[in-house]
């Protein structure tokens, strides 16, 4: 039976969908069957991030309204054969969809996959409740910015009222050079403030931004971080990517000063 994990943050734009997609791709590369559900109804973007927008025939609303089975609506990723996406609808307002509708969709899929990732919408309203009530674990994604950490703290207090087995933290878009220069809140401080187990730290990677334009995943700088994240999730290890490593020492100092000046 699949592990059902919701990716949430409270704040928008922190990289929930990116983390969901890249972690799903990494796990599928390791041989696990992964399904990603986009439950951001009306503001879905997972299909675009993964470059499968032209392959969508049915969406999650078609499944809920019994126009097709969940397995018929799944879209297989073009690069990762074990990775499937259940897209959301773009022209549907979503007020009519209940938490139990999403739970039923998840239940229909849970025996066919090792992991079901639920890409939660931003905010803590109805869409958030629908997504979280269908999961048994939660990953809270934050960036090293006060607004994001504040929202994550709020989300964590709301998650405490749900029956979740485990909650994890992913710190995304970390700039090692800025942390070394004392210009960005340190990852250790974020972990200390939010006080939940850290699943991974993902460096800011220009490749992610560039590749998102062509609907592809991965990135040279973040590849190792995605791998550690996948290992931590699957094996329960706590190996965290060191974003500061390449900015230490004489060459590191030169590198981070150049990066700031260019």
């Amino acid at each position: 039976m699949a592990r059902k994990i919701v990716f949430t943050s409270g704040k928008g734009g922190v990289g929930k969908t990116t983390v969901c997609a890249n972690l799903g791709a990494t796990l599928s590369n390791l041989g696990f069957r992964v399904c990603i559900l986009d439950v951001d109804i009306g503001l879905n973007n997972l299909d675009v991030v993964m470059g499968i927008e032209n392959k969508v025939v049915f969406d999650i609303i078609d499944v809920i309204e019994s126009r097709c089975r969940a397995s018929q609506a799944l879209v297989q990723d073009k690069n990762f054969e074990n990775l499937y996406i259940l897209p959301s609808a773009h022209s549907y307002r979503g007020e009519e969809v209940s938490a139990s509708d999403i739970q039923n969709v998840v239940k229909n899929l849970e025996n066919s996959f090792d992991y079901i990732f639920i890409d939660c919408p931003a905010g803590v309203e109805q869409g958030f409740k629908r997504a979280v009530s269908s999961a048994s674990e939660a990953v809270v994604v934050v960036t090293p910015h006060i607004s994001s950490i504040r929202d994550a703290d709020k989300v964590l207090s709301i998650l405490a009222t749900y029956n979740l087995n485990q909650k994890y933290l992913v710190v995304n878009r970390v700039r090692g050079d800025l942390m070394m220069n004392g210009e960005m809140i340190d990852v250790d401080e974020i972990i200390r403030f939010l006080h939940i187990p850290v699943l991974g730290v993902i460096p800011e990677d220009d490749d992610i931004t560039a590749l998102s334009s062509v609907g592809a995943l991965g990135g040279r700088e973040s590849n190792r971080a995605w791998m550690l994240l996948a290992e931590n999730l699957h094996n329960g290890t706590q190996k965290v990517f060191d974003c500061k490593q390449k900015y230490r020492g004489l060459f590191g100092s030169f590198r981070r000063n150049i990066k700031r000046k260019v």
Partner: protein, 79 residues
């Protein structure tokens, strides 16, 4: 010693998180427990009050659980 931007950020974050906690559901439950206990003390001996909050589709649901040794006899009611 020079204060870094990161340290300023951390201090602001700490202040914001502490301020937010003042209004959190947990804090509200503590306050409600304390208020309920005051009321219950008028009618019961050694009451223990537990208040929890659940966020449901319809809003916030508060569950109040009260245990008491015994109900006070009418003659000693403090109201």
């Amino acid at each position: 010693m020079k204060v870094t931007i990161a340290q300023i950020g951390e201090n602001r974050l700490k202040r914001v998180l502490v301020d937010d906690k003042e209004n959190s559901p947990e804090k509200l439950c503590e306050v409600l427990s304390s208020d309920f206990k005051n009321v219950c003390n008028c009618y019961m001996d050694e009451p223990s009050v537990d208040v929890s909050a659940d966020i449901t589709d319809d809003g916030i649901e508060f569950n109040v659980h009260i245990n008491a040794k015994r109900i006070k006899s009418i003659g000693v009611l403090t109201i």
